[in-house]
Amino acid sequence: MKPAIAQYYPGDSVVHRLDARAKFVAVTGLAIALFVRDSFAGLAVFAAAGVIAYVLSGVPAAWFWRAFRPLLWLVGLTFLAQVLFAPGEPFFSFWIFHFSWAGLEFAAFLSLRLLVLVLIGSVLTLTTAPLALTDGLAWLGRPLRRLRVPTDELALMVTIALRFIPTLLVELDQIMRAQRARGADFGSGGPIRRAKALVPVLTPLFVLSFRRADELALAMEARCYRPGLVRTRLHPLRAGIGDAVLLGLTVVVIVAGLLV
């Protein structure tokens, strides 16, 4: 019962041990380079980097597959759209559709680019605990504090949201069962009717969540939480030699990818 974005495969590989900030910067850099570069050769360099990271991460292929699966539709649609509508000398035409070699090539390129992007992004989310990731993002966002953006508070909010998602799902399930026991029907009717059926479910869920938030806030205050205070962490972010190496290698890969 975990959302796809929070999928994390606990492990102790080289990739797992890298600092969340370094990984995030590397992945962002690669993603940008991936979109700037528009040749198969460049794509191959980034794909190779992604595959090496995947092998080093020790994460089972099945977990990667889970990250890929929901995106296959998108990849498929992108491919179709490009094949059918791309310009170029058609070798086969049908009604408004024109198939050209250039179109096919471009479609393949775009699809592969998406897949490589998902691969690289998955290495980040699969090997970095959500908490470390939010902490890392909060750290990277620190310059925004000058603009009075409460980055640490936002990071804590994300952490709490992630922690309560499973709790809320259980609660939602209980409410739906209770409503079903009293004759509610969530499965039939058109989309509007089904959406309407959810109102009596969401109302108690919201009421419960607000009460929960009140109590949680009180419990946090009782444990000396005050917004704006400097906090330390049990697991502080620690960047080391490995992270410097990662960033160095990333620069090499980006340069190579852009030049080949």
Partner: protein, 300 residues
């Protein structure tokens, strides 16, 4: 009903004598004429309440719903601003001032009823660390203290477990470990077993019993009369004031008061009353099954 094993099993002989005369030390929790009213309410939730708890003392608080027990817990923890009081001191911090309340939050721990709504972090050890992180302890010091707490509340094996995968008792033990990770001088427990199954209650009570050794001032709010047995003293609230303070035996011996407050008796006491109705009298009223067995064995 509650299982007979659920109550603290300490002999109540010492508590029957009432509080043992303490040394002349200022009590850790001390309030006189404490008043509080919720915004928009028409009556006071606390209407001039007097209470004091000394270091090392374990005081139970009972009373019907709405008698002010939870409000008292929040005020003592520095979590709400009293409407007024002639004295309101928690661990030598003045609860009437903003600074005093902030300081009281450090020294007075509060454990709430619903364990689910007290856990903030994504795993047990991070949650235990939360209070220390807020106080900006050094990571190494947090690590050592968290390990100590995990050990003390039998959570070491669960330290990387996510909160939603814990049982009720485990959640409440995690919350207790988190409250006590911050070094406390007083602890207020607000019905910590009310939402737990019997096994979870036993776990938490076992942990609570272990607190008495540490010299903490403990205020234990409960609706379960079996959990009152074994306290040094019991305080009964009605409509925001204290209507009884004294020994556990003294409270349950006053049938009229117990009925008026709607409290009920510990399981053994209820049984003794049933037996009295068929001609088997007990004096004094047994409050635990052990006491009842002794009483039965001694006279038959």
């Amino acid at each position: 009903m509650t299982p007979p094993s659920a109550g603290p099993s300490e002999p109540s002989a010492e508590s029957v004598d009432g509080p043992t005369a303490p040394e002349p030390v200022a009590p850790l929790l001390d309030v006189r004429g404490l008043r509080y009213r919720y915004p928009g309410a028409s009556t006071d939730a606390l209407a001039g309440l007097d209470l004091s708890v000394a270091a090392g003392e374990f005081v139970a608080v009972v009373g019907a719903n709405g008698s002010g027990k939870s409000t008292l817990a929040r005020l003592l923890g520095g979590l709400e601003r009293p409407a007024g009081a002639s004295t309101a001191v928690a661990c030598s911090h003045d609860l009437l001032s903003e600074d005093g309340r902030m300081a009281a939050r450090r020294d007075v721990g509060v454990l709430f009823q619903n364990p689910e709504n007290q856990l903030v972090a994504e795993c047990v050890e991070d949650d235990v660390a939360f209070g220390l992180e807020n106080l900006a302890w050094a990571p190494e010091a947090i690590r050592a203290r968290v390990d100590e707490m995990l050990e003390r509340f039998w959570l070491t094996e669960l330290k990387t477990r996510e909160p939603h995968l814990l049982s009720g008792g485990q959640k409440q033990r995690t919350a207790l470990a988190g409250v006590l990770a911050v070094p406390r001088r007083a602890l207020v427990l607000d019905e910590p077993t009310a939402m737990l199954d019997p096994a979870g209650r036993d776990e938490v009570l076992e942990a609570v019993r272990g607190l008495r050794a540490g010299g903490l001032a403990v205020l234990y709010v409960t609706q379960e009369m079996d959990e009152v047995v074994g306290a040094d003293r019991v305080v009964a609230l009605e409509a925001g004031t204290v209507v009884y303070t004294g020994s556990v035996g003294g409270l349950f011996g006053d049938g009229a008061l117990v009925r008026r407050l709607g409290l009920g008796l510990p399981a053994a006491g209820e049984l003794a009353l049933e037996l009295a109705a068929v001609g088997r009298e007990f004096a004094p009223l047994p409050l635990t099954l052990d006491e009842m067995l002794v009483a039965l064995g001694g006279s038959s």
